[in-house]
């Protein structure tokens, strides 16, 4: 294979948005008859690279060669015509059309100027039989499972393009059997000489189907490795960007002492939701920081959604002070003294047009109900207090929050929850997208709140952050809680080891 020129070769790709580099000097090489996994955490640049390859974005610099000749796809249709087909996570087909109509939309066979439905039916049948799919092609797409739709999408992409197939998280909503069905199709296409790029968060699946993996981190290329014989540990440390040579954590020792004994007042027993997170046990004491670690897609945020009532649990129970409570909605969780700062601050956390004061007052208002509105004066007084204590800059309660920096927005959201004096505060990626200085301040604040007796759950993909603040760390992998590390065991090294240990429940 090495004697041949590669099927697709991207060199030194760069792309910036508003002056911020999303991709910086990334190389990517795809061979014929290869399944190539593209890996990386959120913001690593995977989707930007894919969008450049498929003509959604234009690259700022670098070159892309397909079969040895330079290409510059400007639209999705361009890329398709060149031979690069894509199947997205939310299958991009039309549920209101039949399978055959989906396969032939925009390129229907015609007779006497009218669509030839017979030819479409026959063609669709032949096309799908290649993938071992024998279904009624004149039934609506919506009457089939996601797995079948996925294969129909692949059949369309391959038939349309036929050189490179890019799959963006194809297995996210499939069960084990369906994943195997999809992989059978991929292996067959690989045998036919197609180059396949697959983006997925499930490492077990990467090892099961891919030949090679390229890892991106923060818009840069970390490396490209043949998967056979590559230890999981190496792959994970590439993704999380750490060397295994451990810098010993100075916090761990004193954490072991401070963990209070006794029954925890907030307990989750066998709490879980099918298709989201496997049932888990979790108890949290006042004055304790519980960290949640895991790769993207391992069920970190889903755990928080369950605890805060955004998703409803379908198994187990939540106990507060020994009494079972129903956390059926965020309102119920707030009433029980919970607070939650979501990961997507811009979309889920703040209301950009509202002032800092209004944003801070929001959670309190939600708790008290709309029937008891808070006066603007009281809002401002409240905001002033927190602007001082959290050092929010600029110290202007009337400024629309969208004009604040990321770090200061995060502080304002924190303030919002602190106003309600929660017993438990859940922070999902509290330091994402904020600068180094604010980063340290947020961590300091977490420690301060913890000393004052609040219980905190911190979700983070930054291992240093977890080892610095957490007394205990729960490790997630493939949507299940796989390990709990305590005290001196809370080290980045141990967390990665726990992530790398394949889950025992895996069938594949």
């Amino acid at each position: 294979m090495s004697s041949q020129s590669p099927l697709l070769e991207a060199r030194n790709i760069g792309k910036s948005f508003l002056g911020i580099a999303a991709l910086d000097g990334v190389d990517f090489t795809l061979q014929r008859g290869e399944i190539h996994a593209l890996l990386g955490e959120n913001g690593a640049g995977k989707s930007t690279l894919i969008k450049i390859l498929t003509g959604v974005y234009r690259r700022d610099r670098g070159s892309i060669q397909l079969e040895g000749s330079e290409i510059l796809p400007e639209t999705v249709a361009d890329a398709q015509a060149l031979g690069i087909g894509t199947v997205y996570q939310e299958v991009n087909l039309l549920e209101n059309l039949t399978v055959a109509e989906n396969l032939y939309l925009g390129r229907q066979p015609r007779r006497f100027g009218l669509l030839d439905r017979k030819a479409m039916t026959a063609g669709a049948k032949t096309l799908l039989s290649r993938y071992g799919l024998d279904i009624d092609v004149n039934a609506l797409l919506s009457s089939y499972s996601v797995a079948v739709r996925q294969i129909v999408a692949i059949a369309r992409a391959v038939d349309l393009s036929g050189k490179v197939l890019i799959l963006d998280e194809p297995t996210a909503s499939l069960d084990g059997h369906e994943v195997e069905m999809l992989f059978t199709v991929l292996r067959q296409l690989k045998a036919e000489g197609l180059g396949i790029v697959i983006i997925t968060h499930f490492l077990a699946q990467v090892y099961a189907v891919a030949d090679r993996a390229t890892v991106l981190r923060n818009g840069r290329l970390v490396g490209s490795r043949v998967l056979e014989g590559l230890p999981r540990m190496d792959l994970i440390s590439m993704m999380l960007g750490r060397e295994l040579l451990e810098i010993e954590n100075d916090h761990a020792a004193d954490h072991a002492v401070t963990t209070p004994a006794g029954d925890a007042p907030i307990r989750f027993e066998q709490y879980g939701r099918r298709g989201s997170v496997a049932p888990f046990d979790l108890s949290i004491r006042p004055g304790e920081v519980v960290g949640i670690a895991g790769l993207l897609g391992s069920g970190r945020s889903e755990t928080a959604f369950l605890m805060f009532g955004i998703d409803r649990a379908d198994s187990g129970q939540a106990l507060i002070d020994g009494k079972p409570v129903q956390l059926s909605s965020p309102q119920a969780a707030i009433a029980n003294g919970f607070g939650f700062c979501p990961e997507e601050r811009k979309t889920d956390g703040i209301i950009g047009e509202f002032s800092v004061a209004e944003n801070i007052a929001l959670a309190l208002q939600a708790r008290d109900g709309w029937a008891r509105p808070m006066s603007a004066k009281k809002q401002r007084a409240l905001a002033q207090e927190f602007i001082r204590s959290l050092d929010i800059r600029p110290p202007d309660p009337d400024r629309p929050i969208k004009f604040l920096s990321g770090g200061n927005q995060q502080k304002a959201i924190l303030a919002r929850w602190l106003v309600t004096e929660p017993r438990l505060l859940i922070l999902d990626e509290p330091t994402r997208g904020i600068d180094i200085g604010a980063h340290a301040e947020i961590l300091k604040m977490i420690e301060k709140l913890c000393r004052e007796g609040m219980a905190l759950v911190v979700i983070s993909s930054e291992l240093e952050e977890l080892t610095a603040v957490a007394h205990r760390v729960i490790v997630l992998s493939d949507r299940a809680h796989v390990a709990e590390l305590k005290g001196a065991d809370v080290t980045a090294d141990n967390i990665m080891r726990a992530i790398a240990t394949p889950a025992t429940t895996e069938a594949a």
Partner: protein, 333 residues
């Protein structure tokens, strides 16, 4: 035809047949080609415009301007023929060109200024109505031998019914509309747009061209409907056909087309028109009922059909979920 998407159409058809059956039980005279022919003739202009509305709604849009365009066309034709002495055919061609361009212009704005169809066609509704007033605020009668010739054209049906030229025109429009919707790329693209515009674009549907085409078609059929209305009433009046766009939307929805787009049949709209006509005919036969009962029955039917569509979607989703949980997957061993 076994698809779930044709169920609303079948339901409408059954409702019509049952209702018609009940009507003839009470008034045996209603079962005649005369009644059917009149029903078609009286609703011809509504049927023509409803075909255009079907395409618009299938694509996920709405066209509120059609009633005003009909009124404008009728006044425009009446003034051209009456005051300027143009031959009706020349006036028809001019009216059709104007209304088509008007529709295309609205499509252009919807596409390239990304303004919701509701707002654009609302503006178009006021604009066309205002333009109609500008041409004439009076009812303009038309006396022209050509009109009399067309009004005299009809097909004698067995049983004494007279299928007028306008009724035949409507049936032809329905037939061509059904063919375009089901057997052309344009038709397929309309359904695709109604399913999901973004997905359709990614699958290579020329979104801009299709949207402009859809509203141009609706404009053209509004013009044609205006001509049919002018012939039907032998006059042009700028205050005519107020609110007819809502009757057209009702016919489309009762005919089984999903208001959110992507699902429906042109033939369904014909049945929708027939149901509306049937209610009116029943009221005439009864003689004691107020004509407002038409509106009440149509209101009830609309609610019933929207509920039915919801139920079908809910049912097929549940069946799918059941199938998935049982692991019903064929193929790919």
């Amino acid at each position: 035809m076994k698809n779930a998407r044709n169920l609303p159409f079948l339901a409408t058809l059954i409702v019509f047949l049952v209702a018609y059956g009940l009507c003839t039980l009470q008034f045996p005279n209603m079962f005649s080609t005369r009644v059917i022919a009149n029903l078609l003739s009286d609703n011809a202009f509504l049927g023509i415009v409803a075909v255009g509305m079907t395409f618009v709604i299938l694509s996920g849009g709405i066209d509120l301007s059609v009633g005003s365009v009909i009124a404008f066309t009728s006044v425009f034709v009446a003034v051209l023929v009456g005051s300027f002495g143009l031959h009706p055919l020349t006036a028809f061609v001019l009216a059709l060109v104007l209304s088509t361009l008007f529709g295309a212009g609205m499509g252009l704005m919807i596409r390239y200024l990304s303004i919701p169809p509701f707002v654009v066609t609302l503006a178009g509704m006021f604009l066309a109505r205002g333009a109609a007033y500008l041409v004439s605020t009076q009812s303009v009668p038309i006396t022209h031998p050509f009109f009399e010739t067309i009004q005299g054209l009809y097909l004698r049906l067995p049983g004494g019914g007279r299928l007028t030229a306008m009724a035949m025109l409507m049936l032809v429009v329905f037939a061509v509309g059904a063919l375009v919707a089901s057997r052309t790329r344009f038709g397929a693209n309309v359904y695709a747009l109604g399913g999901n515009e973004q997905s359709a674009a990614l699958m290579g549907v020329p979104v801009g061209r299709t949207i402009i085409g859809i509203y141009a078609l609706s404009g053209f059929l509004s013009g044609l409907s205006g001509i049919a209305y002018t012939i039907y009433t032998s006059s042009g009046y700028s205050l005519a056909t107020v609110g007819i766009e809502l009757d057209a939307i009702a016919a489309v929805v009762i005919g089984g087309t999903l208001l959110t787009g992507g699902t429906g049949l042109v033939a369904g709209t014909l049945v929708g028109i027939l149901i509306q006509g049937l209610i009116q005919t029943y009221i005439v036969f009864d003689g004691t009922l107020s004509s407002w009962w038409t509106k009440i029955v149509i209101g009830i039917l609309l609610f019933a059909f929207i509920a039915l569509q919801r139920a079908i979607i809910w049912y097929s989703n549940r069946r799918l979920a059941d199938g998935a949980s049982r692991g019903e997957l064929r193929g790919a061993a």
